[in-house]
């Protein structure tokens, strides 16, 4: 049994919040540069150029990439041989408070009905998984409201199959249009239950944009969806062009024989996330 101090967790989480909100990930930058080279329309190129200039400015000034620093979402993998010397949930929330305060990040958590801001960016949304080993892995994701609002969960009939999934995803992205700051990253969860599909769709968004799914059949489906979505012609900021999505990430798990749960989680182009292993 290995003991991890909550103070180390607080500091690591605070650092991740700040870094993710001010430094565009390398894989995202590479995709934006590639898209800029491939776009032929002037407005599409100009939007992509602005996004790259914005990233340069954030890295230099430490201003957040986007004023919407998101709701703090975490995926935590807890090794079975790890002991935390206090309350893990509270440590992650405390790290969030510290990161959002120290980094001058916008605190966007509020009461759903009164809309009163909680004032400190918490509570965070935290997903826990137990894994073998003696390490603690924490992935932070800044989930902005504009893109999140364009996400949907639906329960398809089993007979609708892959064609039904594809149709729903395409229609959702088409309907979202310019709203979520395209080019977007699309996380898709198929299977499990109503709630689980949404969770795996969101977790799929933490993959690198330039990776290939280890299952070649799923990798082919991701490419099929990416090609279809990019043929919609929505383009950067909805002004037209070849780049409507930067990547599609698909997660599939078994489901009930009566069900075909499908979740589409839309993420904005900056795909802000960070991870730490303690």
């Amino acid at each position: 049994m290995r003991t991890i101090k909550t103070s180390d967790i607080v500091d690591a989480v605070a650092d991740m919040c700040i870094k993710a909100n001010t430094e565009l990930p390398d894989d995202v930058r590479a995709k934006l540069e590639q898209a800029m080279a491939e776009e032929t329309s002037a407005s599409a190129k100009e939007v992509l150029r602005q996004l790259l200039e914005n990233a340069d400015l954030s890295a230099k000034t430490k201003l957040p990439l986007c004023q919407d620093c998101g709701l703090a979402v975490y995926f935590v993998e807890i090794g079975q041989d790890v002991h935390v010397d206090g309350n893990l949930d509270e440590a992650i929330n405390e790290g969030t408070r510290k990161g959002y305060a120290d980094g001058y990040l916008r605190k966007s958590a509020c009461n759903p009905l009164t809309r009163a801001n909680t004032g400190d960016g918490t509570p965070a949304v935290i997903h826990y998984d137990f894994v073998p080993g003696d390490k603690l892995k924490i992935v932070y994701m800044a989930k902005g409201g504009g893109a999140e609002n364009m996400s949907r969960v639906t329960m398809l009939a089993p007979a609708q199959g892959w064609e039904g999934i594809k149709k729903f995803v395409i229609k959702r992205v088409a309907e979202a249009g310019p709203n979520p700051c395209p080019p977007t990253v699309i996380g898709i969860g198929v299977g499990g239950t109503f709630d689980h599909a949404a969770k795996i769709a969101k977790k799929a968004l933490i993959r690198r944009l330039d990776d290939t799914h280890p299952d070649p059949e799923i990798a082919a489906k991701e490419q099929e969806l990416e090609d279809a979505l990019n043929s919609l012609g929505i383009g950067p900021m909805g002004l037209g062009g070849k780049t409507t999505v930067l990547s599609v990430k698909l997660a599939m798990e078994p489901c009930h024989l009566a069900s075909l749960p499908l979740a589409v989680n839309v993420q904005c182009h900056s795909q802000r996330h960070e991870e730490v292993v303690l």
Partner: protein, 185 residues
């Protein structure tokens, strides 16, 4: 696609010349207001009270900036998604508001209000919050401080880069998704 430099307060003549696709560099004073602030503005109107800023000739920026770090007038300040303000926008346009600034689609009633009242909808680049903050030289909270990021700010802007998305003649810049090309009829 023409390019214009405009100053606030905006006039009918300023707005009438603009066409979807035109680029505008805006200088002067604009006001931040988003979800909760819009509700409060409309509550004030319903109660017959004065608004914290003059709507006539004004531009509202749908933004909730991040906090200003030391030495800067404002934090990151890019646009938020505009459709959430569509239930309020036609009324504000009818009272003299000349422009709104945001990202994403507007509903039919809001687009119609722009035609009826010679007003426009500008797009700013979503997610370019750090870059856009460079055009904001001063920012002061003038109402609803309790709303935090959603408070109403008077912002002094210099050559704020905007794109006309919806003009006052019914024109719209956004691409229409090609469902057929994507394999969906």
């Amino acid at each position: 696609m023409a390019e214009y430099k405009l100053n606030t307060p905006l006039t009918d003549a300023d707005m009438a010349q603009l066409k979807a696709g035109d680029v505008v560099f805006l200088t002067g004073y604009i006001y931040s207001a988003r979800d909760a602030a819009h509700k409060k503005l409309v509550d004030l109107l319903d109660a017959g009270k004065e608004l914290p800023f003059k709507l006539e000739g004004a531009a509202i920026y749908y933004v909730g900036p991040s906090p200003a770090p030391p030495g800067r007038p404002i934090g990151a300040a890019g646009p938020t998604t505009s459709y959430r303000m569509d239930s309020y926008a036609p009324r504000l346009y009818s009272l003299g508001l000349k422009a709104t600034i945001g990202k994403g689609k507007r509903d039919a009633a809001t687009r119609q209000a722009m035609q009826d009242h010679t007003a426009v909808y500008f797009g700013a680049t979503g997610g370019a919050g750090a870059l856009l903050s460079n055009s904001i030289v001063k920012s002061t909270v003038i109402a609803f401080d309790e709303l935090g990021p959603e408070a109403i700010r008077e912002m002094q802007v210099q050559d704020f880069p905007l794109l006309v998305i919806n003009d006052s003649h019914g024109g719209e810049l956004y691409a229409v998704p090609d469902l057929k090309a994507a394999g969906v009829e």
